[in-house]
Amino acid sequence: MERRATMIKWVLIFGAIYLGVLVTLALVSRSKVKNVDDFMMGGFNIGYFLGFMTFAATLFSTFTLLGMPDFFRNHGVGAWLFLAVSDGVMIFMVLWFGYHLRKRAREKKFKGMSGLLTECYGNKWAGYVYFIGIFIFLIPYVSIQIRGISIFLDAAFDHALPPWGWATLILFIMILYSETGGLKAIMYSDVFQGILLMTVVWIIAYTCVQNLDGVKQMFAEVKIVNEDLLSVPGPKGLFNTQFLVASMIAIVLIPVTQPQISSRLVIMKNQSSMNRMAVAVGCFAILVILPTVAIGMYGAVKYAEHSTPDFLSQVLLFDQAGIIAAATMIGLIAAAISTSDSQIFAMSGELRSLLKGDEKKVLKSTKIGMVVFALAALAFSLISSNQLALLARLSFAGTGLMAPMIILAIVSPGRKIGMSIVWVSALAVLVFIASQLGILPPAVLGLRIDLFLFIVLGLYALVAGILGKK
């Protein structure tokens, strides 16, 4: 009881500091906004450090601190390959694709990927297909941030508020903050969140390893509890080769398909800043995922039979000192807000890039769009499951299906490629959704449906690119 009171005291102190930081950053950013590009694109002048922190904080969110330990606990060490190794390839993709994207963005006056695709294909449906695709698959991704933190706060505060109450509160803060300060404000808060996330995750991991008498002993105890966690495919057979290959493809394509990431490549000051950012993100990925192994393995030993919310509240809060538990809670709220606001802001940016007319009116519609997207995410968060990592993966795979049509448009300037790849991509998205809903089978010719669709789309894009007229 006394422990909980100490934790709540520190939550209030850290919470007040966090809110103070948010308000200050929002107001400072607002004072620097001179035009719509400043508000939506951070003035296209982001340096290496700010770019690195915002990219990392957007990519590594509540999903990292809540989803990954649970993934390691349930499915074992293969989770490292699922995320960390895939991220290693993804940062190389940033170098290759970022270069081409920035070139095209300069030529076409970039406002968002939807607008850029409309320009490249010379057909507004290219932009619409992309926009609808990201709406369908990013809303679940935003929702899992909200869902994750809501179920966690619900458990931590002994049902003081229902999960939808926490979700609404977080979304309200997020919308107010984003609409006040714009992208720069989001980026500054990302720096704060990135540092907090990294600090907290290492402290918790250290506590977990200490409680199990060191790394060697930790894995020895996991071996006793469930030996299958120490190798692939894991106790439930999830990490088979097909799953890992399809996951790697989906994650590698994040900088291509997810607008909150691709827009961050475009707004970097220059190529050199973007390149340095990519390497820094790779280092950050290793450093932030590594401690989640320890947290997950600790969970496998101590809380193997617990539900996800119970495991997370035990390991992240009740097994920690009050001050650490409080910092974790604020860190998680910050992570949820920083990732969700980046995604919702990016979706609004995509909406803006499709709209034409007076800039002020367009900005007003964009801001209304932001609220609509947030409400959609709130609604979905109430009905989604607690399998955070798997829901995130679903989002990566769904948006990944649009990568071939994007890559083809970006890296084939001067070629007339036609709209067929756009329609085939739209069809692939529908097939994928139907498969997830159980209307179509989950595998074709012995291949997982996402892997099958990646291969078909990739080959189609290759042929369309080769046959495209100069």
Binding site: G88, S231, A278, G282
Partner: protein, 77 residues
Amino acid sequence: MNTKKKSTYWHLCIAGVVLVSILTFTPLVIPEGIYQPMLAGVPYTLWMGIVVAIVLVTLTYFGTKFHPGNGEEGHND
């Protein structure tokens, strides 16, 4: 360093990343159901996975040195 040499190294980096990615999905990194040999108590697939991730970041670092877009100007230049 001349452009041709740089381009060769850049393509070598790409080849390296592709090769490492493919090797990741072979029994060299993910032998099914096997966790030996352990390194300092860490199971095989995990420590190999950590090595693979470090190699990929290193290749990306070298990629930044030889990337054809090095020296490209920014939006406002």
